[in-house]
Every structure is written in C-alpha cells, then in structure tokens.
Homo-oligomer: 238 residues x 2
C-alpha cells in the first residue's frame, strides 16, 4: 500500500477535522509542529556551517505562519534566518509568531514600495544560502497575485537551493507545475500527507505533521510511513 | 559561568514574560514544546522496546497539561502510555489535550471513589515500566492534597523508574526534598531553566524549553547550555 496523495478538498477536510471539535487541536499547536518539521527538514539537508543564511519566504496565509515558526526554530538551531513577508496576514497568530521572531533578532526585509520590491528581494537572494518557500500552501488558488507574481521568477532564477513547504509555490495543488511557472525546489516537506500535485516531484521529499492519529489515518486511508525515533519528519522513498 | 537555578518567583516572572505582550507566546505553543521535550527525555533514557508501558501522572495545573502533551507524543513514538489524572484541571486547554490523547486511544485510568483510588493506582503501577511524573510544577505550594497525599508514597515505593518534570512531585521548589516525602526520580527534565530545589539532584538531568530567546537568557543571566542539532532537550553535565 503506497502513501495517499490528497486532493485540495480532502486536505482541507482533514485540516478542519483536526482543528474541529472531534480533533481538538488548536491552530497554534499544529502550526508549531508543522513549522518545527519544516525547520528539521531544512536542517537535515542543508547543514548550518555551509548554509547558514536562510531566506524564509512567507505568504499571507497559514503557510506563512508555518514559515514564521520554522524561522524561529532555525534561529534556535543556529542558522541566520531572514524573513521576507511582503503581505503579512491579518490573523492575530501571525502577529504573535512574527513578534517571537523579532524577539530573537531575526530580521524581516523592509516592506518597500512596488518599484523597489524586486531589488530588495534580489539583494536578499544574492546573500542567502538556501530559501524556505512558505508562500502558498494547499489552499492556493491561481492566479499568483502581486507581489508574488514577479517574486516567483526572481526566486526561481536565483540559483539558490529551495526547500518548499507542502506545495511548491506557483504549482497547482492537484495538477502540479502544469504551466511551468512555479518554483523548482530541491527539497519538499509535505504536511499531514502529500498532495496530488507533487506526485512526480523528483527531489528529496519529506513528510511532517506527526499529529495524525491512527484512526484518522485509517479512515482516510493515508498509508503514512512510520516516523523514526523522536523525529518530527520522515523521508519518503523515491 | 554555570547555569542559573531559579527561585519560584523568578520562574513565574519568566513564564509571564514569555506569554505576555512582550514574549507573545501562547500557552498552547509553550506547552506543546515543553511536552515534546518531556517525551524526548523519556525516550532518550528508556527505550520503547524495554520500557513500553508509561504511566503518565498528571496534576491539575499546567504541569498536567505538559504531561498530556508528552503522553500524546509518547504514543506517536510507539510507547503505550496510560494517563492517571485524578483531578483534571478546569481550563479548556486541558480538555482539548485530553481529547487529543483519547483520539489516539491512549487510556485514562478511571476516576474511582476514594476507597478504590489507591488500588487503581497500585494496579496501574504494577503494570508500568516507567512513570512520567507531571503532577506538581514550579507553582506548587505545600501541603500535598488528596488524592496526591496518598498517591506519592505509592508511586515512590513502586520500584518503577521515574522521570520527573521540572520539580519532582512533593519537593519544595526552592528547598528541594527537605522533608523527605517527595518522589525520588531517576531522571529530571527541567523546563526553561532548573529551579533552586533541584541543585543537588544526582540523577540524569535534562533541560527542555528551546524557546528562550537570547535576550531573555541574557537579561536573566540564565547561562543555558547549547542544545545539540535539532533536539528539544540537552543533558546537563553532572
């Protein structure tokens, strides 16, 4: 039995179940464990001696929240993260997570006016060793809007290795990078279970989200692999 | 510079700062990371092949919440935890954390009437390989009240190894086990920083709580050791 790839609708349904009355998880909890899994994945592939400077790119939704949690843990692990979050989400949790990063002296790139946004990002990319792509997640719906429409090509061309969270930004959640406009990550960390769109992803692929109960796993026939030891991630076989 | 041992008052102050407007952490986040650290400590010392059956003893306060999070992670790690929580706290978060354990089929010992409480606990201890003591934490004030007053001697005499969280239950937070009535744990996991009362603890001593920023650490002169790799715990030198 191989692992199940989720449609966008099923991913949404499992997420709602985990956080609903039946699952009883709070967003704070799931985001903490998801972000920790992202940070552990990056640290597993890119060691902090050779790749200390991590540009954490955060979108306006929950995936951006995962990115903020990951940035904090990467700071704790000894990396030098920098946050790029041009459209901060309005939920209170994002403000709290961002403040936690600021308290750790993790800098955020200035929100510049549109004419300078590209050069700000380009300069940051030129002084980064690896990118954590936490821009769009499983609830992404095209089209890619500003400023991400011009940012994705910049990131894609920067010749910096990319670790994407859940769905590489710009990819369709179910059809993948059908239009060839998305990022081309070297590493992917899927959360809870991988999504349909990444079936053909050929890089190193990790799974995070060690909070799915056996009963949820069986009910949705997820066929998840076992996680090793006390790790929050497991690498999927290619 | 050696690690700082905290008074009860200072521990409280740091806790309030982490969760206040300045620190911006939620209780959900800190409890998740604290409970994960407890589970990792137990798993580091007691492997799940030889010590699968963990009796997780939870008190009525936040330490009991740490215990519930640890029970869930221990279940995820492949242990067979059982919860003993005779006085569940009233906060909503404890109910959610308990429900998450129930969803993972982690059993809770029945809340029996006082005449049977001792035999319920004794029977559970006889079929446990290790105890996680999450009964009282740094806000404990004597005296030990029922049913814990009769439970602590039962646990202490059970000849089962004990992992205590923050402060071994029955110990004074600052003076330690001055009266000789507390548990005698084999392993201790201090959270954020160790407390005055455990200065002379002679067993294996771990530190958890990898969420303290450098600025908080410096301001309170905590002199924490570095955590290795992506671990949520670090063992303190004896």
């Amino acid at each position: 039995m191989s692992i199940r790839y989720l449609t966008a609708r099923l991913a949404q349904q499992i997420d709602e179940e985990l956080m609903g009355a039946a699952g009883a998880f709070s967003l704070d909890q799931l985001m903490e464990l998801a972000g920790l899994a992202c940070a552990q994945t990056l640290a597993t592939v890119y060691d902090k001696e050779r790749y200390p400077r991590v540009l954490v790119c955060c979108g306006p939704g929950n995936q951006g929240g995962d990115g903020l949690v990951a940035a904090r843990h990467l700071g704790m692990f000894g990396y030098k993260p920098v946050i790029w979050m041009p459209k901060p989400g309005s939920k209170d949790i994002y403000k709290r997570l961002h403040k936690q990063c600021a308290n750790m002296d993790i800098p955020t790139l200035p929100a510049s006016d549109p004419s300078q946004a590209e050069s700000t990002l380009s300069t940051a990319l030129a002084s980064s060793d690896v990118v954590l792509d936490a821009i769009f997640g499983f609830s992404f719906q095209p089209p890619v809007r500003a400023p991400f429409d011009t940012a994705l090509p910049l990131i894609a061309r920067a010749n910096v290795p990319i670790v994407s969270v859940d769905i590489p930004s710009g990819w369709d959640v179910e059809r993948g990078d059908a239009e060839g406009r998305g990022l081309r990550p070297d590493v992917l960390v899927s959360l809870t279970a991988p999504k349909e769109g990444v079936r053909r992803f050929a890089g190193r692929h990790f799974l995070g989200g060690r909070f799915v109960s056996r009963s949820v796993e069986e009910r949705y026939e997820l066929n998840l692999p076992g996680y090793p030891g006390v790790a929050q991630i497991v690498e999927l076989a290619r």
